[in-house]
């Protein structure tokens, strides 16, 4: 017995150390998720019986199809815009211009502020009488009337980009800064001009980083909750729609909400695995 203990004590201690992590995973994630799945298979408001009714409703009703299309539109548009914003921005910030530390800090702001407050500020500034429309009126008077931005899809995409582009931008920046300057110098010495170096050397080399960051942006905007909850108006992506099932209806439609939540999780995992397989991105750190 004693011998057995000395032989296996390291392994046992390791397993004991792993225990809290796995308890958290199974108790706070896996068990709730299984509960959600079970809930989605029950008839509304009942504790027994099985039904697939909620999934059939979700697949067959046009309203829910629109919700799914909206969710993907928002997420994909946000991801693409973030990439287009991040690459030039990182190329500039990499040059370490005067005051670059300040601008770097600015990029971190959306990551640390609560989404609710961001949404509130954005609603205020892009409202009909907000500073953005006042700026248009005073500086670009040829644009007719106040632009409607709040509670439209375009506006929602703008808000999403505000909140979620830092994920892409920071990975792009760190990929650029991890680049060996020797490679670029070699290309320049070999007679490539700046554009060619950028197009054929720099961009292909940083692409894995950019894509890994864009996965983060995609995940965040697919599951976005705070912003569309108060700034979405009639446009409700999946996460908000799930919450509305139990907030609006009395009694709450828990089973329907759960079915939608489960479908949302499946879609997210499916899309991510296709995306990663397709682009062969590194594992997200």
């Amino acid at each position: 017995m004693k011998k057995w203990w000395t032989k296996h004590s390291t392994l046992l201690v390791t397993l004991l150390l792993l225990l809290p992590g796995f308890l958290t995973f199974f108790g706070l994630f896996f068990y709730p998720f299984v509960t959600t799945v079970l809930l989605s298979l029950r008839p509304e408001g009942q504790k027994t019986g099985w039904t697939l009714q909620h999934y059939i409703t979700f697949v067959s009703e046009p309203h829910y199809r629109e919700v799914v299309v909206l969710t993907f539109t928002l997420a994909i548009a946000t991801t693409l815009l973030s990439i287009f914003l991040s690459i030039p921005l990182s190329l500039i910030l990499r040059r370490k211009l005067r005051g670059h530390r300040f601008f770097r800090t600015m990029i971190l702001v959306p990551l640390v502020v609560p989404g609710m407050i961001a949404a509130l500020g954005l609603l205020l500034i892009y409202g009909n009488r907000g500073w953005f429309n006042l700026f248009l009126r005073d500086v670009l008077p040829f644009i007719n009337g106040p632009l409607r931005i709040n509670y439209t899809v375009q506006g929602l995409i703008l808000f999403y980009v505000w909140l979620y582009f830092p994920y892409t931008c920071l990975t792009t920046l760190s990929a650029l800064e991890g680049l060996d300057p020797g490679i670029e110098e070699a290309a320049e010495v070999s007679g490539a001009n700046r554009w060619k170096v950028l197009r054929h050397i720099v961009l292909p080399l940083i692409m894995p980083g950019v894509l890994a960051g864009s996965v983060l942006t995609f995940m965040a905007s697919f599951g976005a909750f705070s912003i569309p909850l108060i700034a979405g108006g009639n446009f409700r992506p999946l996460a908000v729609e799930v919450y509305k099932q139990i907030e609006i209806f009395i009694p709450g439609r828990w089973s329907m909400g759960s079915a939608m939540a489960v479908m949302m999780g499946l879609m997210q995992v499916l899309f991510l695995s296709v995306y990663m397989r397709f682009f062969r991105t590194e594992r997200i750190q």
Partner: protein
């Protein structure tokens, strides 16, 4: 001919590249920061109607309302208690399991790690309804511990990730050197190991605080009248439509976030933020 013009144009742009770069940087900063400036102005303004840049009168009334009617101090207390509990639990979990992942040889470590980190990849709303059901049954709803426990489901994976990489970078040779130089294990721990892992533990705590402080989804599922947190309070206030009072509340609410931002900028590499630490 036209090609030539285009070339001159591109050359001109290249010569003015600093102006172009700064224009982009400054407009980005304005894009990011003006919403907060406007919230600040809104919270101080009075009788601000019509198409005006600034309010005609300045007042602190909305802050008084925020304190008396929206009960911001009480809500702040709730938020901080919940965040402290979440930090305590996640850091403990992170230290134990992070040590196992970072320092011990394990068969199939990668696979085990990705299982534990899975909750970060999936939006909390997908399992939040289950959390609500279970917590109702266990009477954890509307307790500080319950809300904090719900937050741990997203905080703990991040703590494990940060701390396991911290522990992994701990150099065995340094520890051995301390032993060779005659330090006792206790002394080695307090004078060598602890200073080396402290930055990692601190950054894990900072991110846990930020996540818990911003978390809305899981809080909405587990809160009650006694555990209203600041994000929930803001959500409820926006629903009621008192923009001025809500702005005053938001100004108070956003101060800790900016303090965290300064801490991160000073002490932690920004790339580490990418653990997707933010509550969606």
């Amino acid at each position: 001919m036209m090609w030539d013009t285009l070339r001159r144009y591109v050359r001109g742009l290249w010569n003015g590249r600093f102006i172009l770069a700064y224009t982009l940087l400054v407009s980005l900063s304005l894009f990011i920061i003006t919403p907060f400036l406007l919230i600040l102005v809104k919270s101080l303004g009075k009788e601000w109607f019509g198409y005006r840049w600034l309010p005609p009168k300045v007042t602190l009334d909305w802050y008084k309302w925020a304190f008396e009617i929206a009960r911001v101090p009480e809500v702040m207390k709730n938020t901080l208690i919940i965040a402290a509990l979440a930090i305590l639990m996640s850091t403990t979990i992170g230290i134990c399991s992070g040590w196992a992942f970072g320092r011990r040889h394990l068969p199939g470590k990668e696979a085990l790690m990705s299982i534990v980190l899975l909750p970060r990849m999936i939006p909390p709303i997908t399992y939040a309804l289950g959390v609500a059901q279970i917590f109702y049954a266990l009477k954890l709803v509307d307790t500080h511990f319950g809300v904090a426990l719900a937050h741990v489901s997203i905080c703990a994976p991040f703590a494990i990730l940060v701390l396991s990489s911290t522990f992994q970078s701990l150099d065995d040779r340094v520890l051995e050197a301390a032993g060779v130089c005659g330090a006792s294990p206790v002394r080695t721990f307090f004078h060598v190991t602890l200073p080396m892992i402290m930055p990692g533990i601190l950054s894990s705590m900072i991110f846990t605080f930020s996540t818990s402080y911003n978390e809305l989804t899981l809080t909405l599922m587990t809160y009650g009248p006694d555990t209203i947190t600041l994000p929930v309070r803001t959500y409820l206030a926006v629903g009621l439509g008192y923009w001025e009072v809500t702005s005053a509340m938001s100004v108070i609410l956003v101060i800790p976030s900016f303090l965290i931002l300064i801490l991160i900028q000073r002490r932690v590499a920004p790339e580490k933020l990418l653990g997707g630490f933010k509550g969606l």
